[in-house]
Symmetry: C2
Subunit: 555 residues, 2 copies
């Protein structure tokens, strides 16, 4: 059965029944059809948040074999509820663009999914559309100001950093020239589109603590420079009120359900390289206000997702997880050991054990935050007993809790062992997490601390342009912001070919960007693709809908 | 009070109460919050449609003074319900882009509005967003096919007609070059964006009679030519299934309410020059299935909106109105008489009477369809008794029913006289409307018939390129489609400076376009702007939202 077939063979409960499991009054639910609802901000309860247990699901370095972080998160939530712990999943919303590119959903898989999966993967409740409009209104205002003589801010068209956004895999929009057609068509300039998940508006949504905070952050967006070299902010265009108005509904987290009718809150979905890669602070806080446990996830491996989750999101939100689940698979560990992709289904304990180095490095990084780690081995039918035993023994040897999980094949029932370990780990935590750096550290020090503590880097090298940008950002007063390093997810280093556990490597920061509204500085260590393309045979070709509205070929 | 202040001081009923006025089972409503719902297609009842009374509201040639077609439509619906006629308003959805450009809403005005007006004017239920995505998926597939060597259709990048769409006033996107950045960025080509209301996807939505019909129409979209000169259709890219999937919810009409809690169905909003300028066939049929009277409107003056409403929409839908309401204002008629804009509030019966010529021409055009016409004089406080008497007497002299209406100032109470005249007119109609041309007429004959019967044109002149296109479209088998003439709305002629009732003029067709999916040929008689710009001081600067989510400055 495909994911879509599984997702549509389960009858969802009316969303008011999911709401009632969380003691939400029916009048507080804003329905979007029968199976989706938006949640108002007054549900947030700081006193309950302080008592709640937040669990972060992260992973080893991603491989083409797949790790199954979202599937594990959903399976774990269903299992936690089975063992009597009131638990909510809090996840990112998937992006529409990639749905028509490569095959593959983003709402879990198999028997661990959130539903209604076709809605969630298509327009959902319109949050991405609202983000796109807020982003593109700002773009239109920038070009309109450049065009307008009377109220000109003297923005230098060569120095506009802000790009338009579209949630579509459309490589032809990556780099474009706008403003052709003479006088009435505006001023010619080179620019481009990012996919919506890469918009700073998305990052801002997910960092905001209220509508006022959202608006203030929009005002602080750094868009580019004037001809005199001084910076221009969205506030200079009086853009923030209209942008926040466009986000009136999108700021509210979305309630859906797992296949086993447990609550799931989905909200926001920023990139995990140039942004923080995790759902909104408001969604996480809403989940923690409504249930005893919240299980959440952060993008890519722990070097990107978990590091940013702690140092950027948790620090800003004033929250701390009680435990971290690290997802690994036998296949991915064999890949990290050097096994070719085509041979990953063959038993090979020796190569597997070489791959343990990647897992170990992620465990060490996570331990630096001072929280208990539970390894979740996401089981595949091709895993052999010898391989699984070797991995379980290795975890025991490392003194780390570990369990097999079968969320994909069995749903919550397949994750009971994991759930018990997670509940046990969460109970023993008394401390808050230790951040990797202080906000008052110089920017370069922050980068060095993350690179050394989390990636295992030797030295951090800055190019000359990067040095100049660093000085400028410090001069402009951004020195106290956290950092959000953009590097490949495929390696702990900045070279995607270095799998496993790279040693003796340097990280080269080529340039800096700033998300002044979201509130972080982005050291760039590699080429970051912000607008994907479609493959030769786009998956859209298989997507169809019948006269009754039944969708096929989506996944 | 501003429109927004009026709209928000009225407490709307829960949408299920509006649904119950139409005998819609609660389970058939798909809520979008408490005050909006989507309506499923099975509510359409052809037998009730055949008995129902459809009323079209149209107007004289638009002027900067404003006519108030939507306000009249809503006031009339409230008045019809007051006099015991079960009536539903069926309207277009407003476009988001212009909201941030010039001040002015598009959901009625004063005490004749549909609510929740801020939602309706912002994202509403996401229909425009879905249209944009379907449009832009097709664009991405086109560029991806041009880029892809293996599965190439040999599309000539210089001959792609299909443009991207964005619901934003953004002049810099009108003409752009895409595909910069070398190999991985695609093939360089000149293209552009239309505002979403100008997308053929919008026109198709509004012409479709079912989900299957929608999908088939998407497949028939003519996108451009191959290097060998042969045409390429969306079906050649296997795009129609995914495009229709994106429209799964957007195909359903939206139920809201008037300020007086009467039902209003809003759905679609195509341009009225390059497209049919009226709401969807599905919305009109849904309204007619649920109530005895439906009042609807069509864009611009009767030369554009009403003509297309009859010859394109009603013919395709197999429906016919019982009466037509022609909206005029004293100010607009003085403008047509030659009074300068700044002096329109001064009494001037002589100039007013010169302006009657425009009204008369619209009445004549409408009478060609064989249906009764009711003139609605949308009252302004600056109108004098002498002016109003003159106009009422003139209508009497012409043998046309006429009434003053005060929808803006008084809501339904202000349109009671109009409602009685409309109900009376609707009862006396037995005939179906007479189309202006037969579908089997040669394309040029169709154009000549519309120009002569509706505009009062002398001759139709085709440029040489237009002649060549005409031949090609007939060769390609499109000769039996209806025509959708794109010309200025400001004049009955193709010259916007010719106000009043132009005489002895020719219409010059410069070129043709085809909306093969929507199903009409578009003779172009003038410059049609498909992507507006923002003014020097965009209204977005005044838009704000407070911490409680209250919006201000929107209108």
């Amino acid at each position: 059965m495909t994911d879509l077939q599984i997702a549509t063979c389960v009858k969802p409960l009316h969303i008011k029944e999911i709401g009632s499991k969380l003691n939400i009054a029916e009048d507080d639910l804003e329905y979007y059809g029968k199976y989706k609802a938006k949640l108002p901000s007054h549900l947030i309860d700081e006193s309950r948040i302080a008592q709640g247990s937040l669990i972060l699901v992260t992973a080893i370095s991603p491989t083409p074999a797949g790790e199954g972080k979202t599937t594990t998160t959903i399976g774990l939530v269903d299992a936690m509820n089975k063992i009597g712990k009131k638990t909510t999943a809090v996840l990112r919303e998937p992006s529409l663009g990639p749905v028509f590119g490569m095959k593959g959903g983003a709402a879990g898989g198999g028997w661990s999914q959130v539903i209604p999966m076709e809605d969630i993967n298509l327009h959902f409740t319109g949050d991405f559309h609202a983000i796109e409009k807020a982003n593109n209104l700002l773009s239109a205002l920038i070009d309109n100001n450049i065009q307008s003589k009377k109220r000109s801010l003297n923005i230098d068209p060569r120095k506009v950093l802000w790009k338009r956004a579209m949630d579509m895999n459309d490589r032809a929009l990556r780099n474009i020239i706008t403003g052709l057609g003479g006088n009435s068509g505006g001023i010619l300039r080179e620019t481009g589109f990012n996919i919506t998940a890469a918009s700073e508006v998305m990052a801002i949504l997910c960092m905001s603590k209220s509508l006022d905070d959202l608006k203030a952050r929009f005002g602080r967006i750094y868009l580019g420079d004037k001809f005199d070299g001084s910076p221009v902010f969205a506030h200079d265009l009086h853009a923030e009120g209209a942008m926040a108005t466009l986000m009136k509904e999108a700021i509210k987290p979305n309630l859906v359900q797992t296949l086993e009718n447990n609550p799931a809150i989905l909200h926001g979905g920023p990139f995990a390289n140039i942004a923080q890669g995790t759902n909104s602070i408001l969604a996480t806080k809403t989940g923690m206000s409504l249930s005893d446990f919240v299980v959440t996830e952060a993008g890519f491996g722990s070097d990107l997702g978990a590091e940013k989750f702690f140092n950027i999101k948790c620090r800003e939100a004033g929250i701390s997880p009680k435990a971290v689940v690290l997802v690994a698979t036998i296949r991915a560990l064999k890949y990290h050991g050097g096994k070719p992709l085509a041979e990953l289904t063959q038993e090979d304990v020796a190569t597997l054990e070489k791959g343990f180095a990647n897992l170990e490095r992620h465990i060490e990084s996570l331990k630096s935050f001072g929280l208990p780690v539970v390894v979740s081995i996401n089981a595949f039918t091709t895993d052999t007993e010898a391989e699984l035993d070797s991995l379980l023994n290795h975890c025991k040897h490392l003194g780390v809790r570990a369990a097999l999980s079968f969320g994909w094949a069995k749903g919550g029932e397949g994750c009971i062992d994991l759930a018990h370990l997670v509940a046990e780990a969460a109970e023993e935590t008394l401390a808050e997490f230790n951040p990797t750096y202080e906000l008052s550290d110089p920017i370069l020090t922050k980068i060095e601390k993350v690179c050394r503590t989390i990636y295992g880097t030797r030295n951090v090298i800055l190019t000359n342009p990067a040095k100049a940008q660093l000085n400028r950002f410090e001069e402009l007063g951004f020195g106290n912001l956290p950092i959000c390093i953009a590097k490949t997810q495929k390696s702990l280093s900045d070279d995607e070919k270095k799998i496993g556990r790279p040693e003796n490597f340097d990280i080269k920061i080529r340039e800096f960007e700033i998300a002044a509204g979201a509130g972080f500085i982005i050291p760039i260590a590699g080429d970051m693709l912000r607008m994907p393309g479609l493959p030769g045979t786009p998956s859209s070709e298989n997507v169809d809908i019948d006269s009754e509205g039944n969708i096929s070929g989506l996944f």
